[in-house]
């Protein structure tokens, strides 16, 4: 992955940055650096931070459903394997909620 227009693909976000699209430039840069897992890593960080702050798995799961449906809808920004990984994380969260219901944590 080369920065610039050498190979025809521009992955550092210069064209977005020079067009004034700051958020899209940041997305392009980090997504190229993280091999397409930028949105998924943000999702995992958000889920972990929300759980550490609130200790409430139910709100973590519901917000995860909301963001996963948003990422499925916008489509091109997240690759399908990352969506599958997010769905597996949501599966583990729902299993944890049921486990806490059983064992009264």
């Amino acid at each position: 992955m080369v920065c610039g227009n050498i190979t025809g693909g521009e992955v550092c976000g210069w064209s977005e940055l020079l067009s004034g699209n700051l958020v899209k430039a940041v997305y392009v840069m980090y997504d190229a650096a993280l091999l397409g897992w930028f949105i998924a890593i943000l999702f995992f960080l958000f889920q972990a931070g929300l759980y550490m702050k609130t200790r409430n798995p139910n709100i973590v799961w519901v917000t995860g459903i909301l963001f996963l449906s948003l990422f499925i809808r916008i489509g091109n920004y997240v690759k399908p394997i990352a969506l599958s990984a997010m769905a597996l994380i949501l599966l583990l969260e729902l299993a944890g909620i049921m486990y806490f219901i059983i064992f009264k944590k």
Partner: protein, 132 residues
């Protein structure tokens, strides 16, 4: 309440959660093979025949027993068992659905592990009650 019992219960929780998510998600898209199979079945003219025990093939008589069997309509048993299977063994089904494949490799071993978790949890509950 030992660790093995908790692991088994967590596996069961994963299965029930996967079953719930699997029921909530839409089905996989229909492939071309399935379409052609359906078209072949619809185009074929299968008559209502039965094999006579004394030899030969004759038309199926519409008896009272046939009407009773049609009234019972065993399809609902298949629907209920499919629903319970999807709920209790949902992990492999959810993997198939979110990765978009029609048959997961080593699915039988996953389901055997799930069955072992169910059996172990039942045995541990039984032993716990006896030992307490």
């Amino acid at each position: 309440m030992n660790l093995g019992f908790k692991v088994a219960v967590f596996m069961i929780c994963i299965n029930i959660a996967a079953g719930i998510m699997n029921i909530a998600l839409p089905d996989l898209p229909v492939t071309e093979d399935y379409d052609t199979t359906q078209a072949t079945l619809l185009a074929s003219t299968i008559t209502n025949t039965s094999i006579n025990p004394s030899g030969g093939v004759g038309s199926d008589p519409d008896t009272f027993g046939d009407r009773v069997l049609d009234f019972i309509h065993l399809g609902w048993i298949k629907q209920v068992t499919d629903f319970l299977y999807g709920l209790l063994y949902g992990f492999s089904g959810l993997l198939e659905k979110i990765f978009g494949i029609y048959y997961l490799p080593y699915k039988i071993y996953i389901n055997l592990g799930i069955t072992a978790a169910y059996g172990l949890s039942i045995i541990m509950l039984w032993l716990g009650r006896r030992l307490d």
